[in-house]
Symmetry: C3
Subunit: 429 residues, 3 copies
């Protein structure tokens, strides 16, 4: 009975076309070219490495794609239980006609070749978009991305600002900023002018959000121009910074970004809680972890200072979800956003979804984003989320509160798609 | 099958008459006078504000009740998903004969008028008490409340002490203390004498508990008279305090309250974890949030120092529930108490209930309190809790451990009502 | 339907013979002699004390076993709801033919006598091992345990190191170390030589792990010989240490243990998060609690420094489970281990199990250990875990992901037993 009901709600949600409001897609190479692009996703390399495969084998320079897959496949046996593996299987079944229920040393090569044949078809990218029901995919662009040579109505630019906030001390970042903004930065005013230039460039090219990932101990606060001026001068003169000084500069840049978000009417995606390079010998993109001792109280000043900026907030630790629910319940400018990274597995998604649906205005919830690097991942990731969403809608709203199934579907549609359109102000044409 | 079983357990729990061990009821105006008293509850104003309604519209001075409701109603469409909305609907259906499943701009006026007609009936308060099955409602009285003019057997006084612990620096608080205690406070001894006077007054008038809400970073410890004497002298001379000095005084007062709880044999309700005025532009009572980085280890000294005082503990963050379970499992004087505020939604109540029932002696659990400001809220809030309790009893005890349903009901009765009688020592006559 | 499926998966898991990878069994008196050995387990004494029985009654010197049980039994009525009570009932039913569903003042004496009759049979220990399906039970031995007089193939030694890391300042610990290692410790080199001697002794006697429990604020880091030499000299000269100095020595010893684990190829069991003696008036072993504000980020240096050491990690707070999942997903040398103490109740076990099975390689999960002091406890504790594991396998893998039940059973077998064999390198002969 509950199973039938879930299906009844799931079916229209599965029909729904999507806007994916956060990904790492390269719009010039959105789809995979071989199975290595899929298995090379850090979720698989890091799990295989965790299970025992050496980084050297995975990241050997010059290794052929097929050889890379051949090295990873034997380790898949150790991660068949994971949600990540279930995405892989679903991609292979839906996209490449794979019929087995395991990818093994015996069957992988046939799968590899079948996948390659599909991927070499000229319309592969369009096929994946269509089959996945994707109307738009939001990107996460470097601040100096020219944003040229792709359809920004389909692949929507978003300004990623990690480098600006945390890595100005690196010469290459400053060089990229100089080039992108044509500015000679030497103090707060010239830095803000450079930032303004970046925002203009992005907004002109259809950007829909500014985005950043933040460490668990970050606590934004305004910094006076007088305080930051000498530090900026020193940084841009290539001098060293103490940890405290770096933090002051980070705070200044971050606060300025929020000001520009207000001015340029961009939502500011905050992805809160990641510590970078915790496991330094890990595979590419498989080195980051976190410290759950973080709180949204650290963002009190920010949320109060910018009532005109919408902050879609993602939290890395599931222990932060209730805070996210409560802060979105109280602050008009705080919005719940997706299920990020280490929290993107069913056990946490289900509970987070319940909490949000029970206590946050329905207009303030962005249900899901893929966070994908290659286009094929949207399908299984959104499929996982839709199944969980249908279950929660069936159990908590239809069975628990006596709603008609159509009304539950309506709520689901809003969470999955409607709110993305309203909050980011975009609509596919 | 499980549904039938839950109903079998739920039914007797729904018959059970209640003592509500924590509310903010004004005994001189316990019931609502118009729908504005209900929709004016901060849960609705803050959610409507969070969804987009300005504070100025909600809190316009001199606004008529009906106009206030008219302004709030359009925003209800954005919060129909919330548990808080389901309480509203249940109140309207049970008390005012509302038959629709949504309150809209089209039907609210009829509802408003129907509600007003009911509320104007002379026995409305009695009707609500009766229909809700309430035998007693515990209050949260200001320390200078005369406690006169109401039936303290029905509306049971409790001494709220936030002002004494955290706001002695405010002249009006000191003035109220001077008036209520007839004491000239200038040092530790005279302050304790004033506090003692308050306790006498409350206990004489049937008080059953002392209560306080505490910020997440509070960590009680004893303060010597020598240390605190000059600070008290300065405070009562109207001088400023540093943050450290304020904290010292807070600690002294708090510790003294625990001593008086011991002396006067009152349980000391600790409501742990709220940060006040986090969102300063929020609506009335819709400004407080929290920092989940708090631990009951901060209460180690207190729990050890007062084995004779019962501490019913409420925690604001659901991440604190396991600590509450563990501390209640170990400390004889720590008791679990209700599901507070941001944790008072089904997803957290269910899990918290499971943990407590699985590991805390059944005699040490106060299942629920309403925390209400108006009498009508007890019904839907307790109804929500009873449904969850019945579900947990059915699944974990009858299905999971083979208990007979009657035995599960017996446990539920104790959690819902029996323990309240035993722990607070009161019994309706 | 789901019930039938769970049974189908549970049955083979119940047939499976076990290796219990962590217990506190005394191999010279593994089984209980009277019911007092069972009811004397701190889970019962502390719960009875928490419910109201005085420590003096429980711990009266020279009290007879039967009298001790007589004093505890009346309080069992207050903890019938707890998971711990359900273990007690299951032990009594399975081992002593108890047929009632409650242990009361009316029936306990008959139960006591029946239990004693069973326990006095000469083969009682063997019977319990057999009935519980135990092939091996890992111990937690004091560092100076001679490891003589018992079958180390059955009762597998593990080197417990709490005293070495945290209590060298106690004269009796230093005396025990001197005796066990025949070393004259006065500096880092001689201390490491003594530790090396202990490792040799343990490994020679079949030890399979080094183990330690750690407070929530511990954060291991390497200490230079130069820094620690004068401190060791002072400790072993019987001088006092400041808190900072003690911590430095603790860090040095802990880091040295990790080095020896690498050298001697022993997994290093980390049991993270306990504060000792929080409730100092509590019953024996019923005084410890915790502070949930702890993070695995504190172990960043350790996990990076010892890629060759396997760290089976147990966390005390359920709020740490997601971190454990994430760190095991990323670090090859971090492995999830069991459900410890305050997290060893169904509500937490189920959720922790879900998270681990969804995101950690299946080869890196040690499902469960008993943590028991007396042999009879393995049966109900593992039974509880097996039921939960079967439920999660049925719901998440068979129903959720379409696995065949046999495949889910295979996964369960690995989690319950296979991984224990591989990770600790032992196999019963």
């Amino acid at each position: 009975m509950s199973g039938t009901l879930i299906q009844e709600i799931l079916q229209p949600l599965e029909q729904l076309r999507l806007i994916d409001p956060h990904s790492h897609i390269n719009p010039h190479a959105a789809a995979s070219k071989t199975l290595a692009d899929i298995l090379g996703y850090h979720y698989y390399t890091e799990l295989a490495h965790s299970a025992g495969l050496s980084r050297q084998k995975i990241e050997e320079p010059g290794i052929e794609p097929k050889e890379k897959v051949a090295r990873l496949v034997p380790w898949l046996a150790t991660i068949e239980n994971t949600a990540q593996y279930s995405w892989l299987l679903e991609m292979c079944q839906v996209f490449f006609g794979f019929c087995d229920d395991r990818i093994t040393t015996a069957n992988w090569e046939k799968l590899y070749d079948a996948a390659q044949a599909k991927m070499q078809q000229p319309n592969w990218e369009q096929f994946v978009l269509e089959r996945s029901g994707l109307d738009q995919v939001y990107l996460t662009n470097d601040f100096d991305d020219p944003l040229q040579g792709f359809d920004t109505q389909l692949y929507v630019p978003c300004l990623r600002t990690d480098d600006l906030v945390f890595h100005l001390v690196k010469p290459e970042v400053r060089a990229r900023l100089a080039k992108a903004s044509s500015a000679d930065v030497h103090d707060a005013a010239s830095l803000k002018s450079a930032l303004s230039h970046l925002f203009s460039h992005f907004v002109t090219n259809g950007a829909r959000a500014c985005a950043i990932s933040l460490p668990p101990d970050f606590s934004p606060e305004p910094i006076s121009v007088t305080t930051v001026n000498p530090l900026i001068a020193r940084i841009f003169a290539g001098q060293e910074m103490s940890a405290d000084e770096s933090r002051t500069v980070s705070n200044f840049v971050f606060w300025s970004l929020a000001e520009f978000c207000e001015q340029f009417k961009l939502p500011f995606d905050l992805m809160i809680g990641v510590n970078r390079r915790v496991y330094e010998s890990g595979v590419f993109q498989g080195q980051d972890l976190y410290d759950k001792r973080t709180s949204l109280i650290q963002y009190k000043k920010l949320f109060n200072a910018f009532p005109g900026v919408t902050f879609p907030v993602s939290v890395l630790s599931e222990t932060s979800n209730q805070e996210l629910v409560s802060y979105s319940w109280i602050f008009p400018n705080v919005v719940t956003s997706g299920h990020w990274w280490y929290s993107n597995i069913p056990v946490f998604i289900e509970r987070d979804t319940r909490g949000r649906l029970q206590a946050v205005p329905m207009t303030k919830q962005i249900g899901y984003y893929s966070d994908m690097y290659k286009l094929e991942f949207a399908l299984p990731k959104f499929a996982m989320y839709r199944r969980i969403l249908a279950k929660v809608l069936a159990e908590d709203f239809v069975m628990g509160r006596g709603w008609k199934p159509e009304r539950a579907v309506e709520l689901g549609v809003r969470i999955l798609r409607g709110n993305v359109e309203v909050i980011f102000g975009g609509r596919a044409e």
